[in-house]
Symmetry: C2
Subunit: 448 residues, 2 copies
């Protein structure tokens, strides 16, 4: 640390926080970036980890590695527990980090709409741990179905319910259908993974509400062609170990995935400031907290209304990056006593969602793409974003090639010792005693 240099502390190394740090590389400031993980990850591909197409290391990079050459940046692995805005101090347990400028970019987590008890049976998909947990659950469902002789239990285990018809829900449902109907069938002898049901539940009238209607309709058709049962205008009234209740109807399932709602991380609580219904901090047009010109909140943690359009800025990666660059510009200007840029303005570049292999929907300003063309656009856009994170374009291309050709299978059920014990316990307790286990599916057998 150079005496007298401004100290910029960033909490969260997602798309927003990391962009702030990188954009300040040449500014005469000392940057400290704090995250509770040692890696930055490419959240838009998290569903690929959850469905075993990619490994965690394929979409994540150590934060230290990314900022290795940026000498004014210090990375701390710590879990922030509070902020003392008057003392200008961030607390992480007994660790204390001071700041002149503070940027909060701590993202969002799942919202269960007042039913936190659903969290344990219906994991969401925000963190890498969520993805590896969902992967474990999905793969174990097939394994346990192969072991049981109870047909009702088998069909319960082979039913997968995804709640929420936004991009994450659509991607998860499509990817599980692909795993069940393409990757696994040849590998099981007693069950037929083709028979697996994937049900996508959306409370609203159509999938992908942020997209135009023609693309929503296409997404539904493409999913249905892949064997996904799409239920719109269906609300979940209860979730438990055995299944899901929709107003009146019961779906027996062993695997529920929650993609229905998000709530911001507790930045508003730390600051004791006003939040919107989703827990996001209501920021000023320059992304600062009202009354605290030295504290910025960005990304999914902030409720930002775009000045020009008067519309709320969506919680997507490009928006977080744009906010990050803007905040870095503001801080650099203040430090240099240069005029500060005007209010933050969001440029919407488009919406992307992939449904499955060779099917995606893309909405740009002027045109809508779908099907194979949309999918290639989606793939190229993702490689383009990934290149920025890696040192060598070759690696990203190599990765994309592996993904396109499905040469790699990350279908490993790896548990902590704790989880392993649970599995053993489950096996011992839950498995119905089969009369004779080595009984295979016979040709012509029409069991479910």
């Amino acid at each position: 640390m150079i005496a007298g240099r401004a100290r910029v502390t960033i909490v969260g190394a997602g798309f927003g926080g990391l962009t702030v740090a990188q954009s300040l590389a040449r500014a005469p400031v000392d940057v400290t970036i704090i995250d509770r993980h040692n890696y930055h990850y490419f959240q838009p591909l998290l569903y690929q980890v959850a469905t075993a197409a990619l490994s965690p290391a394929d979409i994540a990079w150590p934060i230290r590695g990314i900022l290795k050459r940026q000498k004014n940046a210090t990375v701390l692995l710590a879990n922030v527990t509070g902020i003392d805005a008057n003392a200008r101090v961030v607390h992480a347990g007994s660790l204390t980090v001071t700041y002149d400028y503070l940027v909060l970019a701590t993202g969002a987590t799942h919202s269960y709409f007042g039913h936190p008890e659903w969290a344990s049976v219906a994991p969401g998909l925000k963190q890498m741990e969520d993805a590896t947990e969902i992967r474990r659950k999905v793969l174990l469902a097939f394994e346990h179905a192969e072991l049981t002789n109870d047909y009702d239990e088998q069909s319960r285990l082979l039913t997968f319910v995804v709640v929420g018809g936004g991009p994450t829900g659509v991607e998860m449902a499509g990817a599980i259908a692909e795993v069940a109907h393409h990757a696994l069938p040849a590998e099981f002898r007693r069950i037929d993974p083709h028979a697996a049901r994937v049900i996508l539940i959306e409370a609203g009238p159509r999938l992908l509400p942020a997209f135009p209607e023609d693309l929503s309709a296409y997404a539904r058709k493409a999913l249905e062609k892949m064997g996904v049962e799409v239920r719109t205008q269906a609300s979940v009234t209860n979730c438990n170990e055995g299944g899901v209740d929709l107003d009146g109807e019961r779906i027996e399932t062993g695997t529920i995935i929650w993609a229905a709602g998000v709530v911001a991380s507790p930045a508003a609580e730390w600051l004791g400031v006003e939040a919107d219904r989703a827990g996001r901090v209501k920021v000023a047009p320059d992304l600062t907290v009202p009354g605290r010109p030295e504290i910025f909140v960005i990304g999914d943690t902030a409720a930002v209304v775009d000045g020009t359009a008067g519309k709320p800025v969506p919680g997507i990666a490009p928006a977080a990056k744009q906010m990050g660059r803007y905040v870095a510009d503001v801080i650099a200007a203040k430090v240099a006593n240069r005029p500060v840029p005007g209010p933050f303005h969001y440029r919407h570049q488009g919406d992307l969602a992939t449904i499955g292999r060779k099917a995606a929907v893309v909405k740009l300003d002027r045109f809508h793409l779908k099907g194979l063309v949309g999918w290639w656009f989606w793939g190229i856009a993702h490689v383009y974003f990934l290149i920025g994170l890696r040192n060598r374009a070759a690696v990203a291309l190599n990765w994309f090639w592996n993904y396109l050709t499905y040469q790699r299978g990350a279908r490993l059920i790896i548990d902590s010792a704790q989880a392993r014990k649970t599995v053993q316990k489950e096996q011992t307790e839950k498995m119905s005693p089969p009369a004779e286990v080595i009984q295979r599916r016979q040709p012509g057998d029409d069991r479910p």
Copy 2:
């Protein structure tokens, strides 16, 4: 299952068990292979996962995927709990699998020489979960060292002790030294990973006792050149959270890795038969359990004395594979009423151990290789073995290229929710309260 066909049940899908299954592909038998994991893994490279050079998915493959096209093979994910040899039944919790022939290939685990309480502080390296746990511990040691201002605690955290000077210990010590001295230094601002100490402890007079003396001496020299402190004729008398005791000497360390001894899995207990000191089943020359001609024990679970040489067969992958092929031949012959092959004969192909990048030792019948030549031999041999597991040679080569060039960093600390809580707790409890954390290492600063 085809009525009347012999049922071959295999427990364990390591090198031995998987070879039995694959070698029976064309035999008129029904094969059931049971493993408590859903993947087969390439154990010789496990240390690379433990030291974050490779991801779990790089060295592991779903068992179902490997046996996908072998229609006479059924894979079950289950944890075997016992065997009823009279009823010819394998129990896995409430699951029951019958057999006509049984092959036990359940491997080995760590032995703490009568000190099971050391297991919790000194993890060994046998399972994938061990590797990811060691990776987590090693990476967190650097992270926690970066956070503390207590220099004693810092140097304790930056001391890594590997117990056991066999191939695994040598590989682990070399790989940790590389991580500390090459991969990490540019990434930390407050500590200097160069200052990390890696101490390799061996009770005997030299490293790699199975190798000739010149190669042992080379290994020691190569490790010392890499900055590893090698202590031979040093015995561990105690291990705990704070460090390791060698007769009289105390080494303060936060990370102990156990590579000193193995003990066979409980197959002998399941069968109620005689075991040697390492828990291995003493098998007949045809690898059957005395008095049970239908039960075979192979790989690390068996104590096999080679008939011709009169020497014990070593616990290495090629030996397990040879036993697997032999047992498949015996079973196929019995089923076909053909004459059964003579006693098992082990062909030793050589010994390999890698020390670090561009340094390995190789002992073949006639020649010893070391240094760069040895390392290339090691690399090519491993690709050769890996090709057998993958469908396409291209994938193995691609993988090898990534490994050679270190383009991939699998340095992710991914925890189960449980482990995450522990880390947070540790951070909160253990961290010494720093006066001012954002203090960097200054040029000329000679702190440890």
